[in-house]
Symmetry: C2
Subunit: 165 residues, 2 copies
DNA sequence: CTTGAAAAATGGCCCGA
DNA sequence: TCGGGCCATTTTTCAAG
């Protein structure tokens, strides 16, 4: 947990790696204006410090047969912390659920679910999600299309910490 | 756009690249049980065919100063296709909005928004989102914590196309 | 930062089902 | 003919000076 402040070069590195996770270190270094070895050291340090959680190929769900994305809002009967964790553990074992966010307010969780088609989703919904212990109600919002799919956070290497909006 | 069916090796490659976007080609090849050159050819073909959209570093929003994730449900006044596209274009210009999904039903869009803090989000909400043309109403669901953050889709190299759900 | 050795990426070519 | 393996060259990685 090194909380050293990021400088402009670090932010450029992070931005480039976020935009292209397979960029070579030499190209990364060139863009950052330094030579390769110190650039690699910075990347390792950023990984070590937890700024970089990992690297992933971004796959086309549709082409892989997952034509349906559904956002499921789940309310629980009991919101005791142990029950919340219990539910989160169960969610972790469902491959179709890709993300699980706990929310403020009435609905407790937002799940992002992928499925091959609506039938497949409905089977998951009735057999797994609704059937799970402590689940009170589920509202499903079916995704029609996705127009923006940016990963992570906006990074402007030139603007350290102030924010316009 | 060759829609050749993926074989077991292709699925293994996709799974590995999704789990570790910076795996070396030789390691990828070893895992897939083939030698490096044909493995690289397969990767290039998968990229070319659109199965792989890209590669991205997965950054820690919190450590980068974006402590707040909000899901904003946006309803529009007019849902004429040209107005939907208009809104999507506007959304594309807001760096804080990372994802934009069009939904079935009453609320038209789900936006995933990151912000430095709630004040920052509220400024975005009032000055940008609510102020945008054609926006009828916005409901904000504040994220408390994220327990699952898997990327993409589940891939089981052994199981081609049937699905248990 | 620079150097240099080890590893990886990648194009060419041949081979077998 | 379509992939896969082997080989050689180039490029990158990464430890040491």
């Amino acid at each position: 947990m090194r909380r050293t402040k990021l400088d402009k070069i670090d932010r450029k590195i992070l931005r480039d790696l976020q935009a292209n996770g397979r960029i070579t270190n030499v190209e990364l270094a060139k863009n950052a204006g330094i030579s390769a070895p110190p650039c690699l050291r910075r990347v390792r340090a950023l990984e070590e410090a937890g700024f970089i959680r990992g690297y992933h190929a971004d796959l086309d769900e549709e082409q892989l047969g997952y034509g349906v994305t559904v956002f499921a809002f789940v309310g629980l009967e009991s919101q005791a912390e142990s029950d919340l964790v219990e539910f989160e553990k169960r969610v972790g074992r469902w491959p179709l659920v890709r993300e699980c966010h706990m929310l403020q307010g009435e609905t407790d969780f937002l799940l992002k679910v992928v499925a091959r088609d609506l039938d497949s989703y409905n089977r998951f919904l009735t057999n797994e999600l609704t059937a799970a212990p402590n689940v009170s109600h589920v509202r499903s919002a079916i995704g029609i299309r996705t127009s923006k799919r940016d990963v992570g956070v906006p990074i402007d290497p030139e603007r350290p910490d102030e924010d316009l909006d």
